[in-house]
């Protein structure tokens, strides 16, 4: 069976190469049979990889421990769902997932667009399949998921398996990697279209219109992937953090930042025909950062707490990146004359410039994160000493950047195109500014002045919230006055009329909620105590009473559990049960923290182990203010993104009022 799997991958590689050759030759020789055969080769790649993935999943589920991959990542006592997720629990499997997802995307793209863009599609196909072929080289020649353990060489008892790392046996980890991969892989599609339009010298925005939904959906997947990772770190790793500027985390953030910049700057191209070169650079950058991210996580070039695989695939990635980037740069330079800007920047206070600053700051942040992540490699190359930079470096740069961004989130959508008068600025921002300053004054009076960044952040969040609320309120009031419906239906009607604009506001609102959550971290408190059963301690306004320690075991792990009563001001809040487990297959201990989640703050308790005399429990307790708003913010963001994807209610009659370059505040400036 493993032979069929390996053979499928090998054949898929051949078909991918064929698809590239057939599409390019077919296009150049104007042979439509070749082009169509190239498209069919794309479908075949998908079919073959589906067979390979199916076989791997089957082996994982049935516990075929002859396979090295199955033995290393599952054990017979694991739940079925985790056996399935072991598909992406290791190097080979996750590369297969990458390849399979890309072939799925490619199939959908080719099928949907095969009759449109006849001259561009062969190039799109060939870019997609070149990337596909690269990943197939890795899993067919370098790291096969279907390697068989040689008899006598396996360092484990046949029939048991080593098990998936218990830290990964958690629900968000089940969907975090595929989400992130859906994001990583998805950016190949807009990139392929961008390259296709460059090669065919199509100056227009066809590629942007075609890929807008792809980009948005992909961006949503990537946001979900990052947030799930944060949620996992928070609930599983036992220290209550959700972000540590670890290279792997940074690797997922980098393409997200450039993609966010891209989502904004394409509006400049659609509305004003500006920033065409820049958009090419951004989408190419996003694609290569996705590949780079996979490289970083999968090659071990930068050491990290996420034990990287030390593997031979690094050099393949370097070659692919070097060739790909060089080709893209040459292509963009070659086609510069087709990418001329159609308008000029007229004022520093204008929608155009707010987009530019948004882009500048995002790209600066991306550059800083990339620089910090690669600092050990760079410093070793320059000075011969490996120097790493830490969270303080990243925070120092990214906190001011984050504040500037949230400020632009508030003002950008309300500034007029071309130029804005002082009068209109005052009209738009007077109330939000007062609201923001008032909140800051109130919080400062309550003692928050010790954390100036947090204070500014809350003020700006209030400012942005006010601008968004006023936008909805103004629009909905007009509809309500005209149609005589309630405020909520009017707001829904308003959103439906221009989903991009109001969906965008919702996404912004989600970002504001997330910022509120991140800002809460400035007020975290924690304590570490050794407490015997019956003992008590205090943290912030919580009284904690340790009731008892229980223990037991089941097939998978042995456990010790603490029962802890939590009370505030004499009022009982309930009992929490933090737990420690020792997994049998991997001999790895894990902590199952207990969290009391509330909107204002989380009470988080970790049972870190027993003291040296085995009589007292070592307890870490934390209070994390506002952290739930991060997760709420994500749901709002996801909802807003989906709203953006809904077509406008009355497209034609609305578009008539739209005069490019003359848009005033109430014109449908899409956002």
């Amino acid at each position: 069976m493993e032979n069929i799997g390996a053979l499928s991958i090998l054949l898929a590689f051949c078909f991918a190469v064929y698809a590239v050759v057939a599409s390019v030759t077919g296009r150049l020789k104007k042979n439509s049979f070749l082009i169509v055969s190239g498209q069919r080769a794309v479908y075949s790649v998908w079919l073959l990889l589906t067979v390979a993935a199916g076989l791997l999943i089957y082996s994982l589920l049935t516990g075929d421990f002859r396979l090295a991959y199955v033995a290393a990542h599952t054990d017979s006592s694991m739940k079925t769902i985790y056996k399935f997720t072991a598909w992406w629990g290791g190097q080979e499997g996750s590369l297969l997932l990458w390849a399979w997802l890309l072939s799925t995307y490619s199939t959908v793209v080719v099928f949907m667009n095969r009759r449109k863009f006849r001259d561009m599609m062969p190039w799109v196909t060939s870019v997609l399949m070149t990337t596909e072929a690269f990943f197939l080289i890795l899993i067919s020649f370098v790291l096969s998921p279907f390697g068989v353990l040689q008899a006598g060489r396996g360092n484990l008892v046949e029939g048991v398996g080593q098990g998936l790392n218990p830290l990964l046996q958690y629900w968000t980890m089940v969907i975090h990697p595929p989400m992130l991969y859906l994001g990583y892989v998805g950016f190949t599609v807009p990139f392929a279209f961008a390259m296709g339009s460059l090669i065919t010298k199509q100056p227009g925005d066809a590629w942007i219109h075609t890929t807008r939904r792809w980009t948005i959906v992909t961006w949503l997947f990537q946001s979900a992937g990052i947030l799930l990772g944060q949620g996992w770190a928070y609930a599983v790793l036992g220290w209550g953090g959700y972000w540590a500027w670890d290279p792997v985390e940074n690797a997922s953030l980098l393409p997200w930042i450039t993609a966010t910049a891209f989502l904004h700057s394409v509006m400049m191209q659609e509305k004003k025909g500006m920033m065409k070169v820049w958009n090419m650079v951004l989408i190419s950058g996003t694609f290569f950062l996705c590949i780079f991210g996979t490289f970083l996580t999968r090659s071990g070039v930068v050491s990290s707490v996420h034990a990287f695989a030390q593997s031979p695939i690094g050099k393949y990635f370097v070659i692919f990146l070097a060739v790909g980037i060089a080709a893209t740069v040459i292509l963009i330079l070659e086609r510069l004359k087709y990418l001329k800007s159609e308008a000029r920047l007229e004022s520093v206070v204008s929608r155009e410039s707010s987009f530019m600053f948004n882009n500048l700051i995002l790209v600066a942040s991306c550059f800083a994160v990339l620089w910090g992540t690669m600092f050990p490699v760079i410093s070793e190359a320059v000075t011969g000493e490996k120097i790493s930079v830490d969270a303080p470096f990243f925070n120092r740069i990214n906190i001011p950047i984050g504040l500037a961004l949230i400020f632009l989130t508030g003002i950008g959508p309300l500034i007029a195109w071309r130029r804005s008068s002082v009068e209109s600025l005052k009209r738009a921002f007077l109330v939000p500014t007062i609201a923001g300053v008032a909140l800051m004054a109130l919080l400062a009076a309550l003692g928050a002045y010790e954390h100036p960044f947090a204070l500014v952040s809350f003020g700006l969040c209030m400012f942005v919230t006010a601008t968004i609320f006023i936008e909805f309120w103004k629009g909905a009031s007009a509809i309500r006055a005209k149609n005589g419906i309630g405020f909520i239906p009017a707001a829904i009607e308003l959103t439906h009329r221009n989903t991009r604009r109001y969906g965008g506001y919702l996404v912004h609102m989600g970002i504001v909620f997330m910022f509120i959550g991140y800002t809460g971290a400035a007020f975290d408190v924690d304590v570490t105590k050794e407490v015997a059963p019956g003992g008590t301690f205090q943290l912030s306004h919580y009284d904690v009473h340790v009731v008892n320690i229980e223990q037991g075991e089941n097939d998978t792990y042995a456990w010790q559990r603490l029962a802890v009563d939590v009370a505030r001001a004499g009022k009982a809040l309930g009992t929490l049960y933090p737990e420690r487990r020792l997994y049998k297959a991997s001999q790895q201990p894990t902590s199952e923290v207990a969290i009391r989640r509330r909107l204002n703050e989380d009470f988080y308790i970790n049972f870190a182990g027993l003291s040296a005399d085995n009589r007292r429990a070592v307890i870490q307790a934390y209070v994390f203010p506002l952290v739930s708003w991060i997760w709420i913010g994500f749901w709002v963001l996801a909802f807003g993104t989906i709203v953006c994807l809904i077509p406008n209610k009355v497209k034609l009659s609305y578009a008539r009022t739209q005069v490019v370059g003359m848009a005033e505040k109430h014109a449908p400036v899409q956002n």
Partner: protein, 151 residues
């Protein structure tokens, strides 16, 4: 042109501020990544700079003493006390030691080398070799039969 000048000036200011922040950030948080044998070769500089040392925890060397935890790191895994390339570490940070920190685990200790030759760590990270990937020796097992599987 005027607009472009203004725009350029603002861009320059933003980039300048960020560069300044970055410089400060690097100076504040730069940590020299050293192997244990390199620490001994650094001489006096070893005491001056923040270091991050990578090593393997000696079997049975972890001793908890109240909030402090002391242990011994070795350059290569599985070494015993007589191995000369070793570093005694005392951890007295606030955060709990990670679950993956145990005998023979690969650990990263951040901190400073004291004049007494003991490494005072403020942060300890441990990477469990099996966290995302099989152990290196497993790796060879997994990669070697590949040719066989393909043929």
């Amino acid at each position: 042109m005027n607009t472009y000048w203004k725009f350029g000036a603002i861009v320059a200011v933003i980039i300048g501020v960020l560069a300044w922040l970055a410089m400060g950030g690097v100076t504040e948080s730069k940590t020299y990544y050293k192997e244990i044998k390199e620490v001994t070769q650094m001489g006096d500089r070893a005491h001056a700079e923040k270091l991050r040392v990578n090593g393997y925890v000696e079997q049975g060397s972890i001793v908890r003493n109240g909030a402090q935890v002391s242990f011994v790191l070795h350059q290569t895994p599985g070494m015993l006390q007589k191995d000369p390339v070793r570093l005694a570490v005392v951890y007295s940070g606030i955060d709990p030691l990670p679950d993956t920190f145990k005998d023979n685990a690969q650990a990263l200790a951040d901190g400073r080398l004291g004049q007494d030759g003991v490494f005072h760590a403020s942060k300890v990270q441990a990477k469990c070799a099996s966290k995302y990937e099989a152990k290196p020796q497993m790796k060879t097992d997994a990669t070697q039969p590949k040719a066989q599987a393909r043929s």
